[in-house]
């Protein structure tokens, strides 16, 4: 008995020892190595590369903006007025085909080389010839450098959007000498020949406010203030951009001192309202969630019917979508987001009218229609799940008399269906590639998204003519009016039904300023101060 008792004590003692060891390790507290001069940005990564001419992801844009300077830029949250950066000034020709940029002559790369037009020429041609995700930004554009401090962009077609495209971080200027030395090329065939990506993932070659210290596509990106930066010195010497999922961001932001969280949903943000340590900014974001009804009779005999489309248009309960999306969200009155030139006002927004929707359905001559709705079932953006939205669409249209089968699938599958124009009804979003209404001409017949909705070229000549006119008009007032006219026409008899602009939430530690959301690069870490 005594021996048995000893054994029990021994086992007990072992258990307690192990538990104590675990507890001791657990209770070690946080490290003292973190300094207060580190800005921590929590973001759920879609990171692929730190090579500015290859990145076109949200996370990549934040990094490239910090590492590379562009000819023009935007101030803070504004995206309506491009302002000088590397270019001290620019001139546009009256036909919006030629843009001449005059460069500053006091900007140097880290190796002491002066930034010249040759670097701009190299960077832009590299972007074009790599044929990557951002290459379309300079579609139809040729670049010339007549002297060291002049760059001329010539567009095949009139392109008044170019000054709004130039601030994109993908057009960040790299040190051509250094990048060439590490396998980079700007020549045709760069899609195969360029080998500089791995170098640019290990160190930066730009003139931005920060330099790259460490880069990982899955854990974190570390930036350090660039001692040679030509602009105002950033407040934070170090910036760490971490790959953190939204639920953990919610916890981190309440514990951290100098932190920013970029992926909180409006619902999550609302839980922070009583927090004394966090400030939340929820504004309408630039993403437009929309529904479409396919105009291609080969895809469906029902969805191209104009009366059927009107039944959908007036059957949707737009206010309930806004309510679902939460803080910061608004009904998008047209396809162009509210912060861009040519956006419609809330007065133009379509309102629900069930009686009218039922009358339209009756006029369509289709009784008890059943259609399939495709959407990315595993995709959530701005805190809104497409599955939840799709269920709402289904319930709304059921009230009108339209039966909707939800045929969502994982995004890798549904995206292929959508892009092939095979969905009868589709629930998708469009995020801006650059802050200009020209980016929304893709919704017209024969264009990128128009074709996905089965809207072939020549289907609506008057609308297409308006689109052509808007694309080549240089006067902004006139352009704005033309885009409004296009959207009103789309709201009357187009196959697209704009639903919402979800709220864009930026949560930051109390005392932090300058954490402004900008649709082009999400956040400029060099503008943040504590």
């Amino acid at each position: 008995m005594i021996a048995a008792s000893k054994a029990r004590r021994s086992v007990l003692a072992s258990s307690v020892l192990v538990a104590f060891a675990v507890f001791t390790a657990c209770s070690g507290g946080t490290s003292t190595t973190t300094t207060n001069h580190v800005l921590v940005v929590d973001k759920s990564f879609d990171m692929k590369t730190a090579d500015p001419q290859r990145e076109f992801e949200v996370s990549g844009g934040i990094v490239a903006k910090a590492l590379y300077s562009t000819l023009l830029t935007f101030k803070g949250a504004d995206s309506a007025t491009p302002v000088p950066a590397v270019a001290s000034s620019y001139k546009a020709s009256s036909d919006a085909k030629t843009f001449t940029f005059t460069l500053r002559n006091d900007i140097k790369f880290g190796d002491g080389t002066k930034l010249t037009s040759a670097d701009v020429l190299f960077s832009f041609n590299r972007l074009i010839n790599i044929k990557g995700n951002p290459s379309f930004l300079l579609d139809g554009v040729t670049v010339a450098a007549p002297d060291d401090s002049t760059v001329v962009l010539t567009s095949k077609d009139p392109n008044p959007a170019i000054p709004f495209i130039i601030p994109n971080p993908a057009l960040g200027i790299v040190n051509s000498k250094v990048v060439k030395a590490h396998g980079g090329t700007d020549q045709p065939g760069a899609d195969k020949a360029d080998q500089a990506e791995s170098f640019l993932n290990s160190q930066s070659a730009g003139t931005g406010p920060y330099v790259l210290k460490a880069f990982s596509t899955t854990s974190e990106v570390d930036l350090e203030a660039n001692p040679n930066y030509w602009g105002p010195k950033p407040f934070y010497n170090k910036v760490v951009i971490r790959n953190i999922q939204a639920p953990a961001q919610l916890v981190n932001i309440q514990k951290g001192k100098d932190e920013i969280a970029l992926d909180l949903s409006p619902d999550q943000a609302s839980t922070l309202s009583g927090s004394g340590s966090v400030q939340v900014n929820a504004i309408p974001g630039p993403n437009v969630f929309f529904l479409f009804s396919n105009n291609n009779p080969k895809i469906s005999g029902i969805t191209p019917n104009k009366h059927f489309q009107n039944a959908i248009r007036y059957g949707l309960d737009y206010s309930s979508f806004v309510q679902l999306a939460g803080a910061g969200a608004i009904q998008t009155p047209g396809l162009v987001p509210s912060m861009f030139l040519g956006a419609l006002t809330q007065a133009d927004a379509v309102k629900r009218d069930v009686a009218k929707a039922k009358a339209e359905l009756a006029a369509s001559g289709i009784s008890n229609p059943t259609v399939n709705l495709g959407f990315p079932s595993d995709f959530t953006l701005n805190g809104i799940s497409f599955s939840t939205l799709a269920q709402k669409v289904q319930a709304n249209l059921q009230e009108v008399g339209i039966k909707v089968n939800l045929t969502g699938s994982p995004i890798a599958v549904s995206l292929a269906e959508y892009r092939a124009g095979k969905e009868q009804l589709g629930l998708w979003l469009w995020g801006p590639d650059y802050p200009d209404p020209n980016d929304y001409l893709v919704f017209l017949p024969g264009q990128l998204v128009g074709l996905r909705a089965g809207w072939a070229k020549g289907s609506d000549p008057s609308l297409e003519a308006l689109g052509t006119q808007a694309a080549s008009t240089t006067d902004n007032t006139q352009r704005g009016q033309l885009f409004q006219q296009i959207q009103r026409q789309l709201n009357t008899d187009g196959p697209f039904f704009p639903l919402i602009q979800p709220g864009q939430v930026v949560a930051s530690s109390k005392g932090i300023s300058g954490a402004d959301y900008n649709p082009t690069w999400t956040i400029d870490v060099s503008g943040v101060s504590g």
Binding site: K6, A7, V11, G28, N133, S135, T218, P247, L448
Partner: protein, 361 residues
């Protein structure tokens, strides 16, 4: 109990160390390696066929909303990743490269899959090994304790707790643990492998704790351990519950055997009886469960990695699957196959080490 078994147990009790005949062992090793090659081939084949059957398009999943509308960008993407070739040709090229140790280039990270795996596997391995050590230490100790105190209060409490460990969804436990121990109590740091701004020690193994130890960077070691302990504990919870129950049952099976009673009758201390006679005889089934638990932890950490922002193989596998990144999917599949075969192999060898009857057979 048979006399042979009894003799074997006596041999064990006497501290006998078995030695595997080298020829048999090499044949056994050869069979396992052949199985690995065949399994690897089978996995690559199935992954290729399944990826082809999925009605998705890697170009659509990887190119942006504009680039996918540009035939030149789509062509360049397909050509770069060999997707412009027929599937049998793609497969043949893949095998050819695989034979040379080249796992291809990831479509999501634009890096060789081998480089990606070399970065992510150590992160998961560090988490998995720590977790399994915790699970073994607690599971065995608590299982023995429960068996020794069978049907008493301690046993009943431990049975309820172990059932809780098995039943609780890991993602839920991870969120609660993060909230309580990081947010409320502040005992551990939050997400990631190190604090923001703390750089890992120079890369040797990829295990931050080991690398920090090698470099003598004690502050980094401490920081890495603090980040490691909570996700490892969360990941261990299920296996602690499982092992506690398993050890309890295995110990109860042998605790009243004749040789155990004989050991007690000889006047051996109870601690020696339990540790050297009872526990050792109960080890084979525990090793089986432990081996599978380790393999599960190595390959099934995706939720814990996601919640704790741990850049391991689980997150990599998830992103690869959602973007139809075929080379990465193949690389992860092969890794999983290797882990399971290696663990089964280690379990088989350990059987022979702890139980001479298996070696004799």
């Amino acid at each position: 109990m048979t006399s042979a078994a009894s003799a074997a147990n006596q041999q064990l009790a006497a501290g006998w160390r078995p030695r595997l005949p080298s020829r048999l062992f090499l044949r056994f090793l050869g069979r396992r390696l052949a199985a690995l090659v065949l399994l690897g081939l089978g996995i690559t084949f199935v992954a290729f066929v399944l990826t082809e059957l999925v009605p998705g398009d890697p170009a659509a999943a990887n190119l942006g909303q504009r680039a996918i509308g540009d035939p030149e960008a789509v062509r360049a993407f397909r050509e770069h990743y060999g997707l412009d070739k027929p599937l049998p040709v793609q497969y043949a090229v893949y095998l050819q490269h695989l034979a040379a140790g080249d796992l291809g280039e990831s479509e999501q990270s634009h890096r060789p899959v081998r480089t990606d795996l070399a970065e992510y596997v150590p992160a998961t391995a560090e988490l998995a090994v720590t977790s399994i050590l915790i699970a073994f230490a607690l599971g065995i100790a608590l299982g023995v304790l429960a068996a020794v105190r069978r049907n008493r209060l301690t046993d009943q409490v431990l049975r309820v707790l172990s059932l809780g460990g098995i039943s609780m969804p890991t993602f839920w436990l991870a969120l609660v643990a993060l909230y309580v121990f990081f947010f409320q109590l502040g005992w551990v740091p939050g997400s990631g492998r190190l604090d923001p701004g703390v750089l890992p020690a120079p890369h040797v193994t990829g295990l931050y704790t080991v690398d920090a130890l090698i470099a003598g960077q004690i502050d980094v070691l401490g920081n890495a351990l603090q980040h490691l302990i909570l996700p490892a504990c969360v990941l261990a919870a299920y296996n602690v519950g499982l092992l506690t129950r398993f050890v309890r049952s295995a110990v109860l099976e042998v605790i009243n055997n004749d040789y155990v009673m004989a050991a007690r009758a000889k006047g051996l201390p109870e601690r020696t009886v339990i540790l050297r006679h009872v526990l050792r005889a109960a080890l084979p089934p525990i090793i089986t469960v432990g081996g599978l638990a380790f393999a599960n932890v190595m390959t099934g950490t995706v939720l814990v990695e996601s919640i704790f922002s741990w850049p391991g193989i689980g997150q990599y596998a998830f992103h690869s699957a959602t973007t139809l990144d075929l080379p990465a999917i193949m690389g992860v599949s092969l890794f999983v196959a290797v882990v399971y075969i290696a663990v089964n192999f280690a379990v088989d060898v350990l059987y022979g080490v702890v139980d001479p009857r298996i070696r004799v057979a």
